[in-house]
């Protein structure tokens, strides 16, 4: 596909191809990470032949660990307080050294798990990220608590950027309120992303790279680092 005339969007069929390619590469490149799984949509009535276009990509029970952002200084004081959590993966730490009182309070909630669902928007023709967070005993987290798990730079992104903001909406397949990262402007910055990378611009838009590129931007909100192996992958 010619980068110059491309509008930055993908069809639902292209989305399906792109996420599957991404999930495969992810599995190959980081076998230690939880895998991304394609979930066919439960919306359609069972028993009838489905042409399987509808579905979404999931990554579940991910802990936002310290290792996702190496710049974070580890808090010595919190170590003693959180012996139990140390056994499991430690909660994501904030950049600013908060005072002990708040750290203790936060850690007493335990580990925070995140589920990420990549859904295709038929209206905007781009992927949209739905997510939710919960504690070890399944207690859902509210936005205030979630924002504490995000890197400090996200607060800036969320406030200043016109396109990156979080709302609560019904998950299009699961029918329950989930958090959603808004897709406004996705097609514009995806187009820019592909145009700015000369090797991509020369070879044309490879659909297989769409999701990796998209996630490398969107993942920043959560401090998710895409392993460089995936980004360097070229067909």
């Amino acid at each position: 596909m010619d980068v110059l005339s491309w509008d930055g969007t993908i069809s639902s069929r292209e989305f399906r191809v792109a996420v599957r390619a991404f999930a495969e590469r992810w599995k190959e490149s980081n076998p230690d990470f939880p895998p991304w799984t394609w979930v066919p949509s439960a919306k359609r009535h069972p028993g009838l032949t489905s042409n399987q276009i509808d579905g979404y990509l999931t990554l579940e029970r991910l802990c936002l660990t310290e290792s996702t952002e190496k710049d974070i200084p580890f808090q010595e004081d919190s170590y003693e307080v959180t012996q139990v959590e140390k056994e499991e993966t430690a909660s994501f730490e904030e950049e600013d050294p908060a005072d002990n009182a708040t750290l203790v309070e936060r850690h007493s909630f335990g580990v925070h798990y995140y589920d990420f669902h990549l859904v295709h928007s038929a209206s905007y023709r781009v992927p949209v990220l739905f997510f939710r967070a919960y504690t070890t005993d399944g207690q859902p987290l509210v936005l205030d608590e979630i924002e504490k798990d995000l890197p400090a730079s996200s607060a800036e992104i969320l406030l200043e950027s016109k396109w990156t903001f979080i709302t609560q909406e019904d998950h299009p397949h699961l029918n329950r309120p989930w958090y959603k990262l808004h897709p406004c402007g996705t097609s514009e910055w995806m187009k820019l992303l592909f145009q700015s990378d000369t090797s991509m611009a020369n070879k044309g838009v490879a659909i297989e790279l769409y999701i990796v590129s998209w996630l490398s931007v969107v993942g920043q909100v959560f401090g998710l680092r895409i392993p460089s192996k995936l980004l360097n992958y070229r067909d």
């Binding site: 596909m1 010619d2 005339s5 491309w6 509008d7 069809s11 639902s12 069929r13 191809v17 919306k43 359609r44 009535h45 028993g47 009838l48 032949t49 489905s50 042409n51 038929a122 209206s123 905007y124 609560q168 909406e169 019904d170 299009p172 029918n175 329950r176 309120p177 406004c184 044309g204 838009v205 659909i207």
Partner: protein
């Protein structure tokens, strides 16, 4: 746009009989239900200003977010009232008996609603989405002045079509042109009302139409809607938020439109390939090879299905039992562009309720 049709749509209302949930009744005898005429194009929580005073003498001192329920099903506040009625009352119930709550907001089932602001935001957001679908960008909606936004919102709340038409025409959201309303457009254009963007020269032009489809199904054994089991969970409803693609020149009916959104139910009769309607420049080779392989899979599926069909007397296709829009059941042969232009909601979306008759799985054939 047809003036008569628009007036009909904007004047539509549902008589409601609203009962306060017993857990919040503090007086004996319990208060009588509130009788309210709710605009079809409106949203239930907007009725709070009428409902609360009615129950004020009996409500406990501390109340929370208002929410409604029908036969145990919490109602999604962002779905227009008329759509909820068409969807949940297979046999229209007049008045429609709803239960209102002022406590215990079911946050695990309903997204939060912080009063009028949430609903206004939801409407503007849908408008943005509709604009993107129709024009390929949401600029016109995003650039709306604060004053216009307020005026648009107030016109929806009060059901004022004249104000709404004036403000919304600035958004330049012409849906597909259709020759069927061309004549009425000429006369209304002369009278200075309802300036719109339909092309008077008239064939169906290619484009995307914002549609929200709500589908539920009944087994083919059930003939009478009254025998159908009630919808007690939102899981029984497939909510499909997907634009309908209209191709240039072809005669495209409401039936075609509904089937295009539910291809898996109508195998063999209609397979929409959205790739064929893409206008942007593409890598033909990559696309056609991908298409070829997936078309082959589709074809194989259809072949296999047809073989089964031969041995299983009836077609395995689902049947459309009913299609309801704005409370009416339009003839399915009506041109879809007419339906889109005249029956859409203020959010520029066409909300369509569809009931499908699903064939029972015939185990002897498998």
């Amino acid at each position: 746009m047809n003036k008569e049709a628009r007036n009909f749509v904007w004047e539509g209302a549902i008589p409601l009989q609203i009962h306060l949930h017993e857990s919040q009744v503090t007086t004996v005898p319990p208060p009588p239900p509130a009788l309210i005429l709710a605009p079809r194009l409106g949203y239930l929580p907007l009725l709070a200003s009428q409902i609360k005073p009615h129950f004020s003498s009996t409500l406990p001192p501390v109340v929370d977010t208002i929410w409604f329920e029908y036969k145990g099903l919490p109602l999604k506040w962002y779905i227009p009232t008329g759509v909820l009625f068409d969807l949940l009352c297979a046999e229209p119930e007049r008045p429609w008996n709803l239960t209102v709550h002022f406590r215990g907001y079911p946050g695990n089932v309903l997204t939060p609603c912080e009063g009028e602001d949430s609903i206004k935001w939801s409407l503007i957001n849908s408008l943005k989405e509709a604009a993107y679908i129709i024009n390929g960008n949401s600029k016109n909606v995003m650039n709306m002045s604060q004053a216009d936004q307020v005026e648009l919102w107030r016109s929806v709340v009060s059901g004022n079509l004249e104000v709404y038409a004036r403000v919304s025409s600035k958004l330049k959201l012409g849906i597909v042109s259709d020759e069927y309303t061309a004549n009425s457009n000429l006369s209304s254009a002369r009278s200075g009302q309802f300036v719109d963007e339909t092309d008077i020269s008239g064939q169906d032009k290619a484009g995307r139409v914002p549609v929200r489809l709500y589908v539920w199904s009944v087994s083919e054994d059930i003939d009478d809607s009254e025998d159908a089991p009630p919808i007690d969970t939102w899981d029984k409803i497939s909510y499909i938020n997907q634009p309908v693609e209209i191709q240039e020149g072809k005669y495209f009916t409401l039936h075609d439109a509904v089937k295009s959104l539910l291809p898996e139910y109508f195998q063999g009769s209609f397979l929409i390939d959205e790739e064929s309607t893409r206008v942007q420049g593409e890598d033909e080779q990559r696309d056609s090879s991908e298409e070829a392989s997936s078309n082959k899979i589709a074809e194989d599926g259809v072949e296999i299905l047809c073989e089964h069909t031969k041995s299983c007397q009836k077609s395995d296709n689902a049947e459309i039992k009913l299609v309801r829009i704005q409370g009416i059941e339009p003839k399915l042969e009506i041109p879809f562009s007419w339906v889109a232009n005249n029956l859409m909601n203020p959010d520029y979306f066409l909300h369509i309720c569809v009931c499908l008759k699903i064939p029972r799985l015939n185990t002897t054939c498998r």
